[in-house]
Assembly symmetry: C2
Homo-oligomer: 230 residues x 2
């Protein structure tokens, strides 16, 4: 599985002779590019990933279209950069705090806990992993692939956390990691749908409760008492 | 809670004096209207609910814009008619077969079973309850409301089935109907996301397995053995 965050960027590749030098820029240029990506990510929370174009981002940032184009080279590369930036922020807010927790059930619980915090923050803006899936589910191409890979990397992290929890004896040895990750994924999607679209109060509490049910189902008796997850 | 399918249609209301008679038409007119709605629903599986407009539907059905307009009066009313038609079909494919089953756990299991069949069929086309939630989650108005009401009616049917299962002694008396419905809703969203967007094989089987886990968690011992849901 690819980590889209580590996928080579256009700026890392040698430019083709005779083609314009796209994105191969100075440190200051990198900062400019980063600030454009952040503005594009903010814009995508209003217009969706699908609404991101060189022109829309140029207008939102008060830059010329050619100025934005010079950093990305194409609308698709701009959209992919937005996905990478979203993934980077997601990693920082969810993944890194969780891996500071003890391997096994504590880490899995921390992953879900931080994920729920991101979801709670995103209720106002939406999540491009969710809205992007609807925008691009019937549009094959590099943007869809970058989005799907990002989600796969993230779900892979959940599967890994479950696997480690099995190794630590916190989760029953016969549990299917992918089944557990699927059930957890459903809770995230449900809270997003019910809180953001249906505006149902108490959705986050329901997701936390449902996560407890999942932990109770798969957790070993000893782990449940040790980590007060019962 | 409103049943959007039973909400008064424009054609049921007396026309305002001086305004064109919108939708108050003969039996043949009703048939024409129905065939336009069905075509619009099919179109929405490609372009989303948001892509539905008088012009787009006119083009897709080979009619004049004024001809389509005469049946609906506005783009929003056309979109709402599509939602009602989707709901009507959903009711026929999921709700009516389920209420033929025994009250309680058998009916709840049938609801999920038929729901999964619809989801499996929809993987190719998408579900407007899901894509529409993304398209309209930040656009207040009658279309968002009609969509949200349809989903609420449907989730209400699940809550009712769980409640009846408690009355029948099939589900523990202390179970929270809304919590159970939330967990079931998550499975539907997860299977749609993972099978349709991520194209993961085995997603439907995971959802069926996860539904079993929910039934095992909330079901009474007697019901689980009686309906072989264990």
């Amino acid at each position: 599985m690819l980590d889209p965050h580590r996928a080579p960027e256009k700026s890392d590749t040698a430019p083709h002779p005779g083609k314009p030098v796209v994105g191969r820029v100075s440190h200051k240029g990198q900062q400019t590019k980063q600030s454009i990506v952040e503005a594009a990510l903010a814009l995508s929370s209003q217009v969706g990933l699908e609404g991101i174009s060189i022109g829309a981002v140029a207008e939102a940032t008060g830059r010329s279209k050619s100025g934005v184009f010079a950093h990305f080279g194409s609308r698709e590369e701009l959209q992919i950069s937005v996905i990478r930036e979203y993934f980077r922020q997601f990693e920082q807010e969810v993944f890194y705090p969780a891996i500071r927790e003890k391997r096994g059930l504590p880490r899995l619980m921390a992953l879900f806990d931080h994920w729920m915090r991101v979801v709670a923050n995103e209720l106002q803006f939406g999540c491009i992993f969710i809205s992007g899936a609807v925008d691009f589910d019937d549009r094959p191409g590099p943007v869809r692939d970058a989005l799907a890979q990002s989600v796969e990397v993230w779900l892979g992290a959940v599967v890994r956390a479950v696997h480690q929890a099995k190794q630590e004896g916190h989760i029953h040895a016969n549990a299917d990691e992918h089944q557990v990750a699927f059930e957890i994924h459903g809770l995230i999607l449900a809270v997003h749908y019910e809180a953001r679209f249906l505006k149902k109060p108490g959705s986050i509490e329901r997701a936390l409760q449902a996560f407890k049910h999942i932990v109770q189902r798969y957790g070993t008796a000893q782990a449940l008492s040790e980590f007060s997850a019962a």
